[in-house]
């Protein structure tokens, strides 16, 4: 390969003061703001009447039994399972037993259901609005500047991403514009948030997306679903659990560990 001469650009040192530092400060502050916004926007759970609470909690009890059965002995697991399945199928826990079999009410008309949706909306808003605002802010004020050089080489494909708004054909893709500094900040500022806000902060949007993926069913027992059908499904799930206990064969493991030591 022929040696390509290293491109040098003389950049105004003022670029740092007027582009890099403002973007970095704004990014850090949005993260901090997002953390406190998500703390403040959390609504306290609304007080429900006893039958509604019982309906929700008893469904949760079935789920808890299904996911923690390994810490129960076979006998106690089976007695719990038999009780829950028969109660689920009879509809003992239903809030309104006489309404069994009827289609659920429209969730929009139920004020309690609206609350849950508003909570999710608020969280999504806290993530979406700052992103769009900052993106358009950077695009409006800082596009077209070459600010920095990456310390590692990149292939030509990155050019369109890193040098958006800079129309210079032969420039090395290592030169980056202000928008790519923004992207670096999105991914790399985690350590600043850890330093400022502690470990379980809500500042980084990457973290929030990961948490959203870990919760596959946030609407459990939520509005717009027929509770009777949920109970029937949970009864079926419980019925097919293949039980074992962590204490099965524990004496064998203990003896083996003693023999090893």
């Amino acid at each position: 390969m022929a040696d390509i001469p290293v491109q040098t650009l003389h950049r105004d040192p003022q670029l740092f003061y007027w582009i890099l530092i403002p973007i970095t400060i704004v990014m850090v502050q949005t993260g901090v703001l997002r953390h406190y916004a998500s703390v403040l926007l959390q609504t306290a759970p609304k007080k429900q009447d006893a039958p509604a609470m019982r309906e929700q909690r008893s469904l949760g009890r079935g789920v808890a039994l299904r996911s923690n059965y390994h810490s129960l002995s076979k006998k106690s697991f089976e007695s719990r399972r038999d009780y829950l399945i028969s109660a689920y199928e009879n509809g003992d826990f239903l809030k309104e037993p006489e309404k069994k079999g009827q289609p659920p009410a429209n969730p929009m008309s139920d004020p309690g259901a609206m609350d849950g949706m508003m909570g999710m909306m608020k969280n999504n808003m806290a993530m979406m609005i700052p992103n769009t605002l900052i993106m358009s802010w950077i695009n409006a004020f800082f596009s077209g500047y070459v600010t920095m050089k990456l310390p590692f080489p990149l292939t030509i494909k990155f050019k369109s991403m890193l040098q958006a708004g800079v129309q210079t054909k032969d420039m090395d893709p290592r030169w980056m514009s202000s928008i790519s500094w923004y992207f670096l900040c999105i991914f790399g500022l985690q350590f600043v948030y850890v330093f400022l806000l502690g470990n379980d902060n809500a500042a980084s949007q990457l973290n929030q997306q990961m948490q959203a993926q870990q919760m596959p069913n946030p609407m459990m027992g939520g509005p717009g679903q027929d509770p009777d059908k949920q109970f029937k499904a949970e009864a079926e799930n419980l019925a097919v659990v293949d039980h074992y206990s962590v204490l099965d064969d524990v004496e064998g493991r203990l003896l083996a560990s003693l023999k090893k030591a």
Binding site: M148, P151, L189, V194, V246
Partner: protein
Amino acid sequence: MSIERENQIHPIVTESTLSNLYSLTSSLFGVTAGILGLESYNGFLLYLVLSVITTIFVYVVKVLPESLSEGRSIGDTERFFKGALQFWSGGLASGMPGFVLTWTLFYGLVRV
């Protein structure tokens, strides 16, 4: 024995404290690499070497005394961690973005 069952019998210790350490130290490594003016592979190599040195410190200061008092041999991390590989390479990926950020920043600041 299935993996699920294995995890129920031996619950995994969370690595949150270690990942905190890595995200903080990796940014300092980025400052180092930027001030030294390292480019491409040299920078990543520095990151790798310094991360391994950090892990060795953690091992010697925190893990080794407990392991030895439990009668384990030197180099055995099973007292707190699932496997040796997880202990030695666990923080590399999580610290990488912070490293690249500070590396770029200080590289740019030093060589205007």
